[in-house]
Every structure is written in C-alpha cells, then in structure tokens.
Symmetry: C2
Amino acid sequence: MELACSRRVLRKRRPLTISRGTSSETENLFVEVRHGSTVGLGEMAPIGYGQAQTAAGAEAELVALAGALAGLEPFSLYAVEQAALAAGVCSAARAALNMACWDWVGRRVGQPVWRLIGVSGRTAPTSVTVGINPPDRVRELVCELFAEVGPGVSLKLKLGSPEGVEADKASFEAARESLPPGATIRVDANGGWSDSDAPAMLRWLAERGCDYAEQPVAFDDAGALECLRERPLPVYLDESVKDSSDVPKVAPFCDGVNIKLMKCGGISEALRIVHTARAHRLRTMIGCFSESSLSIAAAAQLSELIDAIDLDSHLNLVDDPFCGLEMANGCLVCSAGPGLGVLPR
Amino acid sequence: MELACSRRVLRKRRPLTISRGTSSETENLFVEVRHGSTVGLGEMAPIGYGQAQTAAGAEAELVALAGALAGLEPFSLYAVEQAALAAGVCSAARAALNMACWDWVGRRVGQPVWRLIGVSGRTAPTSVTVGINPPDRVRELVCELFAEVGPGVSLKLKLGSPEGVEADKASFEAARESLPPGATIRVDANGGWSDSDAPAMLRWLAERGCDYAEQPVAFDDAGALECLRERPLPVYLDESVKDSSDVPKVAPFCDGVNIKLMKCGGISEALRIVHTARAHRLRTMIGCFSESSLSIAAAAQLSELIDAIDLDSHLNLVDDPFCGLEMANGCLVCSAGPGLGVLPR
C-alpha cells in the first residue's frame, strides 16, 4: 500500500473554551491509502494535552512509516497497527491510518464499514457542545445551537472554569434555564476540579438533573480518581482512558469510558475498548477532538455499540472539507455508501 | 434470512477420555443461513458439562428463533446475536449461527473471514490431544499421533485422572519420554485436581519442562481458584471462562484464557474475549470440543490473534464432513477462498 499525506487548517465557526484553554482553529492531517485501484481516506486531529500531537509531527511519523507499510495491503488492519505501534507513531496518526484502511476495505468490497462491523449504522442523538463562557453568553449559545441543529440533541456543557466551581454553577444554571423542552444536559470538567471539589460538584449536579459528568478530576494525578469510588452522579472518564489497557485500571472509578479515535488509535482499537468496557459492565461514550466529518463519520460507524454519542465537532467548522454524513432528528446518519461513506467536497 | 438445521453423528477414530468421562462419538448440529443467493454454514458441537447442550436442544432453540431472524440480514451480526441471547439460545447454537453469518458475509463480499477480521490467516502450530490412559497406551498414542500429523505440533496431555495424581504423574512421564525431539508438552486437568493437590502438581510439572497447565481446579467451585493466585507454571483457564464478562473475574488467577466458540457463542464473542484478555495482559488460547473442520476453520480464522492453538478435533474424525482446511508443518492453513473456506465433502 502507498500513503500520501496533506495538512489543512480547519477554522471553527465559534471558538471553543475548555478548562485547558481556547481554540479557534486546528491544523489537521489527511491521509490517503492507495492499493490497487482503490483509495481510502483518514484524518488526524491534534491532541493538545499530555504528550501533544501535531499534524506536522504525525505527518513526519507516517512518512517514515511508509516503507514498512509498502508490503502490506490495507486488509491487514492488524499488521498495519502493529507496524505503526512498533515505529512509535502517535495515536492520532495511527487513527488516521486505521480509518483510511477501513475506508479502503469498505470501498474494496463495496460495503459501508458499519456493515462490515456487523451493526446497523443507526446512531442515538448526539450531544452538542457549549464551552466555558459567562452565563449570559452560555444562554445565547444554547439558544443558537439548538436553533441550528434542531430538536433531539442533548447539551454538553464544558465546566472546570479557571474561575472556580461557583462560576461553573452559574454557567450550569444558565444553560439549564435555556434548554428547549425535553433536552437533557451533561457536563465535562476536562479534569478541572480538585479531588476535594469534585464530590460536592457531582452531588450538586445530580440534584439538578444532570445526565452525567465527564472527567471530573485530572487524568495525570493517579490519586485523584480515588474520590470517584463512590459517585452521586454517573461519571465517564475520558482523558484517563487512552486505550483498552486502561479500562481495567479505571473500572472501579467510573460508570463509563469516553472513546475517541485520536486517543486510542482508530476504529479497531475503539472496538476493543467497547468490548473491554462491556466485559466490565461499563457504559461507553464516543467523542471527538476538532475533527471534520471524515473522522466523525469513522467514529459514527460504531454508534450502535455506544451508549452516549458526542460527535459534533464537524458542525462547528467554517468549511467542512467532506460531505456525505447527514443528520436527522439529532442523530448522525451514516451513509449506505461504501467505506466511511464520505467524500471530499 | 432463512435458517435450516440438520443433525449428524460424528464418530471419533480414537475414543477420548478426560477427567469427566469417555466419548467415542457426538451428535453435532449443522446450520445453513440463506439470504439472497448466498448461503453460509455453521456447526454446533455438544457441551457435556455445566448446563449440558445437545444438538437436539440447539436445533429446537434455533427453529424457534427463525421468526425473529426473518427480518434480519446476516450482515447484522450484532442484531442476530442480540436476538439469540434475548431468546435464551444456548451458547453452542449461537456459535453455529454466528459462524454461519460470518461465512455468509465472507461469501457475499468474496473474501475469507480472516481478511475481514483484519488478520493474515496464518496460524501457529496446533497441539494434538492424548486422553487419559495407562502409561503404556499413552506411549503408543503419542507415537501414533506424531507419526500421523508430522513434526511441528505440540502434545496436549489430558490429566485429572480419577485414579489420582500419581496416575497423572506416570502418564506425564510416559508422554514426555515418547515425544519426538523438539516437541513440547502441555497438560489439561479439566478441573480434575483438588485445590490442595493443584499447587504441588503445577510445581511438579514446571520442574519437568511442561509448557503450561489448563484448568487445574474445578470451574464451579468459586473458592478453588484462590490456590492459583501464585503460579509456579503458566495456567490457562478454560471451563472458568465462558465469555468476555468472565475475563475480569478470572484475571488474578491465570496467565491466559482458553477461548472456545461453543462456550462463548461464536467468532464475534471470541474476538471480544481476545480484546478483553489483552487489555488485562492475559495470553489467549483457542480450543475446541468435538468439532468437524467447519467449526475448526471458523476458530482458525482468529489464529493470528491467539498465543496457543489447540484445534485438532477434526483430525480425530472417521468421516470429517467438510474439506478445505489443510495443515502444513503442524499449522492449520486457512483457505484463501471466501467465507470460512470449507465446503461439504
């Protein structure tokens, strides 16, 4: 198989502020896998925390890997993964490569990837995200977002404000008051709470009808998870769970895990996380970084196996470079076309 | 999709004695899945321990399920599994149904199942089994078996004799003396040792170069596994592990798990066990009941993901009803043909 890479800046319609900072654009890497007359496409979005992953770094790693892949066909998903892991390729670049191979396989056999995974391609409603903002701006954004995407979706509110938990509470109250009838709300602290604040915040949110909270405490503070052994509100862990080997470690401290292709290395490893999480009786969620509808379509292929869908980054792009992923009643609609079902615009 | 079932008695060339008794033939169930112009085949072999599963019982369960499957296509592996689980269909019947759907998918898209799983279809050498017998007969059987299958394979010796551990030791010594140069030996007690005998037997076997031991103590005695927390020899658990949800429970008590399609419900759940076991840093083994080369071919599709291959029951049949699964240098060779790569003889 042959690889080709290209970088492209994706601009956000609205800048997004989370506990770690604000982002108004990202540089993403697009990967083309070619073998015979069939092409598969994949995307890498940067990861800004932990060991940062950039499009330029990912491109260099994949270019260096091309020789090792030359003797493999994209059907050999497992060998391709092993080669990339052995070469130390970062998780987001591995995700781009893995989804490009899945896209290739689907196009080669003329079937959508969801069908090859054995599921239906149906998805539950996604949530849409409102970042950290003053309460008045939260109200505006909630109204704008629901007007744009229509009913059916849930609201995911970013908390963990640097201004502290009182600012988070004001923001949550503002969001809740602005929700259309029937819509539900969940929050994501991105590790922004201390282990002394987190239990009280979870209790406070539980009393106000919050669905669940994501990553209440820091992922890189091993002891902090201990405060989550008893949970007044369902907790999903995100930054604490990179791949399936993390699931047994976090199982006592959460009700579910948030899977992201960029963290785990692609569709194949995402499936492994689903299976491991279910073996532990954990729920699953699938989320995203700043991804176009190519990578969002890749994540959506697994939706039938996932309890909570959080795939909305493509809705906040000025120019989504791909088309083919539709939305109906708050739900992503995977194409019945081959592969990942999206094409360059 | 439409289902058709037929039962058939498979006779063994040599009766096999294990800790629970002797078997010289089994009645297996063969399942045909039809949708459009494509057909997929699957096989159920009976399970004699725990809640016994018979071909007649499995046939009745699948016939009752046919209505619920009528609206599904075999691509919908997940929905088919869910329907069978909801109807309480036994694991071995679900295995037949699941492998028939995988066979159908592979034939429908013109690819072998191993390629759709993303692996190469290469397998490590299998082990071949010698049952519980007096030492002289063990010597004869080891020589006969290695003469038949040629070099490359390992020997799996059944222990857990009702005559006690001294009989097991005599049998092991007889087998070890009869091995051709380079061949290795592993044992399977099928839960036949008490938790007071098991640690001493594992130590005794470790001192004599045994590869590993399977299921030293009873699967249905919850406390017995405790004696395996410290292990002088690698231990694989078999009867204690039905499906992926058992893996977290047994992880502290073993080095690996033995996957069997009949226990877990098919290729899809076998993959889930592999993923869960790897997340726990456990090794994996794949084994069989009294299966023809149809079901053995289904298990062999996963081989590249498995550490220890124990797929030999088809070699001990008087009339294997399927052909297409070859063997070279002790390794099963998956066909490059579509589906499971075997056809009725």
